[in-house]
Symmetry: C2
Subunit: 231 residues, 2 copies
């Protein structure tokens, strides 16, 4: 084990044994060197790795803090993995969409249970915005992501929201590599969000699943066409 | 943008524009400094972050290579996130098991389709080993992971195998924090693997789902009991 990996384990142990939470301050670099008995360069190397994993956050002029331990590292890896995929087709992006579709379908029961008969002006607002943008031929990835995140918010298991969000991010970062979607596809996708929410509010799991499926249809179709050559 | 993040993007772009694959060699540190016009310390910092994300691999005395871009960073984050979870109960581990159960259930159709009527001495071997170890009161996480990995191997979408494997790893790394499982639970779990495979071979999706569910039962029960205090 190198000095840097010893330092990394020691910093993680420090966070756990002191019951620290995301955002809590960590000791200074000098204090860590002294406490752990390792060199300053090893502590620096360890901190850089922990920052990459979102376990530590460095705020300039303020010091080090416990990070958000988000899914961001996974998203970066997945996006890169997608871009690395062999061949110049959309295979890896199709895999991501396939995972999203299956997760949405697997969570249909819970989502419908959570939203049955439940009004929510925020969700309605996202859909209104999407339809408005779609009518102008504009895309709406921000509202789209916010919609899906809010839809999963009531679920007791927050890992789902993180997972879906991570796959959503992969998707958003790789979609710009494709041709721009057609105007009618943007409108279909916006409308499908409303159908999803309405089905959930009626408590109709099957209709919710169908609307979810429909909401991916233009994307699935675009991904089955050949990929344009890389610039 | 700092010099290090410029260097990081440049290295990623280099990998993509040269169509490199995992395991392919990268230019030396000096060549990267010269080509990208950034300092050696920035390149080093960038490389450390990329190593943490498993995008670059450093082999001592051999140089730098494109990494495996695995789910390892996600696993590290998830394990740590689980340990950080508020309260001294098993809530975060229950969430992980919940995700595994839902994914297994969502993939039941595809798994059964892949294995219907298909003999496989390797899978049978894993189960024999599990049952043998269980009879001696020993656990079998290695064979367990190998079993699940092989079960998903025939699926066209390899992201599933990576996801399930990542959640499996989270699980294995956090389970040692719990009390040792009872001997009869180990035997039940080993047997349930055989039932899963037999159901898949018969082409019986419902029986496969039931066996999968049963295979998690001892764990779900253990996770619903109060957590022992941290050492």
């Amino acid at each position: 084990m190198t000095q840097a990996s010893t330092a990394m384990s020691a910093i993680k142990d420090y966070i756990l044994s002191h019951h620290l939470r995301p955002g809590d301050p960590l000791p200074t670099e000098s204090k860590l060197c002294a406490d752990l008995g390792v060199s300053r360069s090893s502590v620096r190397e360890a901190v850089r790795t922990l920052v990459a994993l979102d376990i530590v956050e460095v705020r300039h002029g303020q010091g080090m803090f416990v990070g958000q331990v988000s899914m961001r590292p996974m998203v970066e890896s997945l996006v890169f993995r997608g871009l690395l995929a062999p061949g110049d087709d959309y295979a890896s992006l199709r895999d991501v969409v396939d995972v999203r579709m299956t997760l949405d379908s697997a969570l249909a029961d819970d989502v419908v249970k959570a939203w049955k008969g439940r009004p929510d002006p925020v969700l309605d607002g996202y859909i209104d915005d999407m339809e408005e943008l779609a009518a102008e031929g504009k895309t709406f990835s921000e509202q789209d992501q916010a919609f899906h995140a809010r839809l999963l918010e009531p679920l007791a298991n927050h890992l789902w929201a993180h997972l879906i969000d991570a796959f959503w991010a992969v998707h958003t970062l790789t979609v710009p590599l494709m041709d721009a979607p057609a105007a009618e596809d943007i409108i279909t996708t916006a409308k499908a969000h409303r159908e999803m929410l309405e089905a959930a509010r009626r408590g109709d799991v099957e209709a919710y699943r169908e609307a979810t499926h429909k909401h991916y249809a233009p994307l699935v179709l675009a991904l089955s066409s050949p990929r344009p050559p890389r610039p």
